[in-house]
């Protein structure tokens, strides 16, 4: 339990560094650090498949972000009345949001005792019905296979969009 708290606090600190540092490259590195700590947290929460996926995706995201970042300082931290006003308004909004979210999060089931009304059936019948020893794979590729199909469609469309945006030959 203590390990979990310290991992999440480490993630919060890493993301604070990522959003406040001047250099964009170190911000990208801090962001990747947060993602890798997230992998360790997934392992600690008994989710090895998710941790493996997060690791791979994290490395790809690092490559994509570093490709985009120019090696220069982020010189947009200037102060003015408008910036101060927007910072104050945003902080007030976030504090209100956090207050109501805290009230709402109290209604969730307690940590460590999940509601497993749907998953109980999957766990009981997963091996017999699908032949997969890994229940996560059984859910992903058999019980919720249409979700995976939709995911593949979204992936295809997004990569298609990225290729179209980045292609060299434009209309003359």
């Amino acid at each position: 339990m203590l390990e979990l708290y310290s991992l999440i606090i480490l993630m919060i600190l890493g993301s604070l560094v990522a959003i406040h540092t001047k250099y964009l490259l170190s911000a990208v590195i801090s962001l990747t650090l947060v993602g890798l700590i997230l992998c360790v947290t997934f392992l600690y929460l008994q989710a090895p498949d998710t941790a493996i996926t997060q690791t791979i995706v994290e490395v790809i995201a690092l490559v994509i972000l570093i490709r985009a970042v120019p090696i220069e300082k982020d010189t947009m931290g200037r102060k003015g009345a408008k910036e101060t006003f927007s910072a104050v308004v945003t902080t007030i909004f976030l504090v209100l949001f956090a207050f109501f979210a805290y009230r709402a999060l109290l209604d969730l089931p307690q940590f460590g005792f999940p509601l497993m009304r749907v998953s109980e059936g999957y766990i009981r019948e997963g091996l017999v019905k699908t032949g997969s020893a890994n229940i996560v794979t059984a859910v992903l590729l058999d019980f919720r296979a249409y979700d995976t199909l939709g995911e593949a469609t979204v992936l295809f469309t997004a990569i298609l969009g990225a290729i179209i945006v980045l292609r060299k030959a434009g209309r003359k």
């Binding site: 962001l31 995201a61 994509i64 976030l94 005792f113 999957y122 229940i135 992936l155 990569i159 945006v165």
Partner: protein, 111 residues
């Protein structure tokens, strides 16, 4: 209150999206929000003393953590990397055209 800690991570990402003027910082805020949401869903499915949901002969069948959030979070992670690639390619095009990432200077619409 461990759910609230992951919510604080979400708030940090939201603050970054609302305040920052650099396009890449905004993208980073979106990525932080994605991290916090997937962390929150996995936290919701954690069972105290549970095992990973893989059927092995030594482990009794009832003491697994919830496999459903894990499977759907895998879907969400893969979709997030695809959308990140699309966002970053748009940002690179904007940088080529305007030579800046400052969103207050990207206002001209002429092609």
């Amino acid at each position: 209150m461990i759910f609230f800690l992951s919510f604080i991570l979400f708030l940090i990402g939201l603050y970054c999206v609302l305040i920052k003027k650099n396009l890449l910082k905004i993208v980073m805020g979106i990525v932080i929000m994605e991290y916090s949401v997937s962390l929150f869903l996995i936290l919701l499915g954690y069972k105290k003393g549970g095992f990973p949901p893989i059927v092995t002969p030594g482990v009794e069948g009832t003491n697994f953590v919830d496999p459903l959030p894990q499977a759907l979070v895998i879907t969400a992670i893969v979709i997030s990397i695809a959308s990140l690639a699309l966002i970053i390619s748009l940002c690179m095009r904007i940088y080529q055209k305007y030579k800046t990432f400052d969103i207050t200077k990207i206002r001209k619409l002429k092609g």
